[in-house]
């Protein structure tokens, strides 16, 4: 968890129930006491992601001194004691977003602002006005675009790896690795907005230096990306680093999945942190 210290870290997930919020809680537990910690969710208006599957989003344990951003209605439902430090004017379906300091520990549901711009504003205030050193953002599943809310942020990618879909996840991780290894640069043909398969096809082959906004704007799969990148130097205006990936394995062994990943750097891959392989 050292890799997360001092950063704004988005926890992104490959899909619903990938284990993102579990990892978020795990990371919180590991980071507590080691850094001035603030955390929030990037869930959109009322998007309490597990609501889609019939259950409320799990509440997060909070402890005195922690700084948290959440909505008015989540605050009203919290059993933790807190003081309000700031309220942001733009309202979501769950009320305005507020920043609070926990006075008495307990549980709290995290809900997030309606847009990336608002998210950026809140993260800036957590790091600036409220002095948070490490900001952890529980991202919505499969929405890397939220990364663009914070310049210089990194992300942890939590993937649910099932045997039948393991190759697709391996490809997604390989793509993320390749994207996060690209360097920042400004010179070249700038492609504003999303790089979709259609737009990628339309870029003339003679253009050898391409500048993209950031990795969240790449909407290509691995083969499409590799075809686009072949023979070209590609840069990002803003770089977001993959800090590491978490693979939650279902019916597939570590060895088998590692084989599929081939040259994915092992130091950037964490297998299910909830697994105990020492035996009982």
């Amino acid at each position: 968890m050292k890799a997360l210290l001092g950063k704004t870290v988005f926890i992104a997930g490959s899909e619903k129930n990938a284990g993102k919020t579990c990892f978020f809680n795990y990371a919180l537990n590991k980071l507590r006491g080691r850094t001035r910690l603030a955390f929030l969710s990037s869930g959109l208006d009322g998007e309490s992601e597990d609501m889609a599957f019939g259950g409320r989003k799990p509440r997060v344990a909070v402890f005195p001194g922690e700084i948290i951003a959440t909505s008015q209605s989540s605050l009203a439902a919290a059993d933790a004691g807190c003081e309000v430090l700031e309220v942001f004017p733009a309202a979501t379906a769950l009320g305005k977003m507020a920043v609070v300091r926990i006075l008495r520990g307990g549980f709290m549901e995290l809900s997030g602002p309606a847009s990336n711009a608002r998210l950026a504003e809140i993260i800036a205030s957590l790091r600036g006005g409220f002095g948070a050193q490490t900001v952890l953002v529980d991202g919505a599943a499969n929405r890397l675009t939220q990364l663009s809310a914070a310049d210089g942020a990194g992300f942890v990618y939590v993937a649910k790896v099932e045997r039948l879909r393991a190759q697709a996840v391996a490809d997604a991780l390989a793509l993320l690795r390749e994207l996060s290894e690209l360097r920042a640069g400004m010179r070249g043909l700038f492609i504003e907005g999303a790089l979709t398969p259609q737009r990628a096809q339309a870029v003339p082959q003679k253009e050898k230096r391409i500048v993209l906004e950031d990795c969240t704007k790449v909407f290509l799969n691995l083969p499409q990306w590799r075809a686009f990148a072949r023979g070209r130097k590609i840069y990002f205006r803003r770089r977001f680093g993959l800090i590491f990936a978490v693979a939650n394995l279902y019916d597939i062994s570590r060895g088998r999945f590692a084989e599929m990943l081939k040259d994915f750097p092992p130091e950037k891959l964490v297998f299910n942190p909830y697994e105990d392989i020492r035996g009982v």
């Binding site: 579990c22 809680n25 795990y26 537990n29 590991k30 008015q72 605050l75 009203a76 059993d79 004691g81 807190c82 003081e83 309000v84 430090l85 700031e86 309220v87 004017p89 009320g95 305005k96 507020a98 300091r101 006075l103 008495r104 520990g105 307990g106 394995l249 279902y250 019916d251 299910n272 942190p273 909830y274 697994e275 105990d276 392989i277 020492r278 035996g279 009982v280």
Partner: protein, 519 residues
């Protein structure tokens, strides 16, 4: 008019700090009362001298204004709403205290909400807000119970986790559950310390079970937490009711905040861009502009390192017709007048050494640039623009027309423009500034022309050459962007010279001269 005069340049730099000020900016009052405007200018002047004399206090004032949130009178009574109210009061009080007494009195910024602020500040003097124990003894009691039972839960949980680690080597300290191979977990099956469920075909999820006492304690804590919420809700409602009793005073306070914010922003704008107080004239008096500037153009030219010439002119009548060379500055002259007049009408200082003008009920750009109307040609759009302006003619109206009827034949266009100018002259409340290339207009207006290209100065210079940028630089250097009364003697003969300077084909220019001379 705003688009033509590039007035957004000013609005983009006019930066009120409060939500009240920003809402007022969006409403952007168009003053038509000289008395109200004099009041606004007087206060702006007072804020300018306050900010110049006490820069630190002015910065502090801006700091507190920037921290003032919007108070939603219909917000539900919760901690967030009361936080906003407290933050509003705290910063409004600090802002009012920074204002010099005469200014505070003029804005109605006298502080009368100390009682409400004190109530909201129990237990916390800063902007932060929480429901302090001191609000109710019941709250103290229930919170004490929560603290006691929470401590008991933590002890029990800690003891259980330590025992599970000791007895089974399973560390749940940072994990809510552990995933282990089913074969390894076999000996845990049936153990009441664990809840086990499948993970996949070969692994299980193991969760610690803390026991009945733990559940009872959690239920007890939940019960106390609900009681705390009920008590807090009572306190919040009482606080909200208390605040509602001060509503008229709070509205008065918000109005004073808005005025202070707007005036400070206007003062900052004036100081940053060298704006001066305009002089309001009686209806009928002629407009005078001395070294009037069009700041967006001035900035563009400065970026290109090109010379900028401010506009000076004492107009001799209400209706002025401006002619002159191509690229000679007619349109800029109109834009400058429009910019200054809009500043005046919206209560801003003006970018001029001196600007004197009456106040109007409306200001119009009667040209084709006011957007698209389906089915209308550019000439149709010009007519449409004129008709919109003409509706306001009886109320007193400031009108700009830039090369009206340029898109129709010159004979009819000139006749139509003559008639329009005559109509303007006949309406006492209308002030109009009309740029045109038409000569021989027959209307009783005051006629002016831009001095145009200084051929004498240029002839000694040696001719034009280079790329378009260089050629534009030459034009800028030798064009005299000055407005002077038009005696009618000078002919509009700069078009061919300008064409030559822009690098136009010399043969074609010679042929044109030949035609012009009637050969």
């Amino acid at each position: 008019m705003k688009t033509f005069a590039e007035f957004d340049w000013l609005l983009g730099r006019f930066l009120p700090r409060t939500p009240y000020g920003r809402a007022a900016k969006d409403r952007l009052l168009f003053y038509s009362s000289p008395k109200e405007l004099e009041g606004e200018f007087g206060l702006t002047e007072a804020f300018i001298s306050f900010a110049a004399k006490f820069p630190v206090r002015a910065d502090k004032l801006e700091f507190h204004l920037a921290r003032i949130p919007f108070i939603d009178e219909n917000a539900p009574p919760d901690c967030a709403a009361l936080f906003c109210l407290k933050k509003f009061l705290l910063n409004a009080k600090a802002a009012f205290a920074l204002l010099p007494k005469p200014l505070a009195a003029a804005l109605g910024a006298d502080w009368r909400l100390e009682g409400l602020l004190k109530t909201l500040s129990r237990g916390e003097g800063g902007e932060n807000f929480h429901i302090d124990d001191s609000f109710s003894p019941e709250l103290v009691s229930v919170r004490r119970e929560i603290a006691a039972v929470s401590a008991e839960i933590a002890r029990l949980r800690g003891r259980t986790l330590a025992r599970l680690k000791r007895e089974h080597s399973l560390d749940f300290s940072a994990r809510e559950f552990i995933v282990i191979e089913e074969s390894s977990a076999a000996k845990l099956f049936g153990n009441p310390d664990f809840f086990i469920e499948p993970h996949d075909s070969s692994h299980v999820v193991v969760r610690p079970v803390f026991g009945a006492q733990y559940l009872e304690l959690c239920a007890k804590r939940d019960g106390f937490a609900r009681a705390e919420k009920r008590e807090e809700a009572k306190i919040l409602s009482a606080l909200a009711r208390g605040a509602a009793r001060h509503l008229p005073e709070m509205r008065r306070c918000a109005a004073a905040v808005e005025r202070a914010d707007i005036l400070l922003a206007k003062a900052r704008l004036a100081a940053a861009h060298g704006l001066t107080r305009p002089v309001i004239l009686k209806p009928g008096a002629a407009i005078v502009i001395k070294k009037g500037r069009l700041p967006p153009l001035e900035a563009r030219l400065a970026a290109e390192k090109l010379r900028y010439s401010p506009l000076s002119c004492g107009f001799s009548g209400r209706v002025a017709v401006i002619s002159g060379s191509n690229m000679g500055g007619k349109t800029v002259a109109l834009k400058t007048l429009g910019f200054c007049q809009l500043c005046l009408q919206h209560g801003f200082f003006v970018p001029a050494e001196k600007y004197s003008a009456p106040v109007f009920a409306a200001a119009h750009f009667a040209g084709g640039g006011g957007g698209e109307v389906a089915g209308l040609s550019s000439f149709g759009l010009e007519l449409h623009g004129f008709m919109s302006a003409w509706k306001d003619a009886d109320r007193g109206c400031f009108i700009l027309m830039d090369e009206f009827a340029r898109a129709t034949n010159s004979r009819e266009g000139g006749a139509l423009l003559s008639a329009i100018i005559s109509a303007f002259c006949a309406k006492q409340g209308v002030y109009a500034f009309v740029s045109t290339h038409f000569s021989g207009l027959r209307a009783p207006a005051a006629y002016y022309r831009m001095k145009g290209f200084d051929g004498a100065a240029f002839s000694g210079h040696g001719g034009a050459a280079g790329d378009l940028r260089g050629r534009l630089r030459q034009i800028n250097r030798f064009m005299r962007y000055e407005l002077a009364p038009d005696s009618g003697k000078a002919a509009n003969c700069d078009a061919l010279e300008v064409a030559r300077l822009l690098g136009f084909d010399g043969g074609i220019i010679s042929r044109a001269k030949f035609v012009l001379e009637g050969k």
